[in-house]
Subunit: 116 residues, 2 copies
Amino acid sequence: MTTTAHALVSSDDVNGTDVYGRDGTHIGAIDHLMIDKQSGKVAYAVMGFGGFLGIGEEHHPIPWNKLTYEPAQGGFVTDLTEAQVQGAPARQDGWYADRDWERRTHEHYGVPMYWI
Amino acid sequence: MTTTAHALVSSDDVNGTDVYGRDGTHIGAIDHLMIDKQSGKVAYAVMGFGGFLGIGEEHHPIPWNKLTYEPAQGGFVTDLTEAQVQGAPARQDGWYADRDWERRTHEHYGVPMYWI
């Protein structure tokens, strides 16, 4: 068997994958992913932030392109800041089908839009 | 709100998404997805086939590129045949990290490899 370094994960197991800051600080964990069914690309990681935001467990959708998977750490690394998360466009019901919100959110985080 | 036709689905909710043949026959359902953590692309849909294979519920990993999401049907459409599924390379433990198996499987189904 040619075992490779690439990491496939089951959609059942993404919950709880850890997310770290560039300095190695644990800042949260993935709660679930939002997947674009047509392209098969992950669009958002909905993350739970514990102490990071200092306001109890909060869930925020973070554009996938903001996260980098680091096999050595077994988790994702991001340069996300608390100010970025708190200043992100507010989401309402149906945010995941609201292209205007999606565009503003990707611009806010400074990452390429997943649908382009 | 600018609602769009694109469909995002939560990784928690992919279980049970239906898969139809080109002629509209229901051939199975998604059990879970296997996601490449580094690229954020879905690599496989692990599908459950009921009557389609006539041998009880069997789970088989199908390359994502073999499935097309059809919003109008609320499910995936594929030209997968029973012979293709039965003739696919056998999988062993660790198949999702066995690049040789992955290559043979994509060649068998005649679809582009997700990592290229």
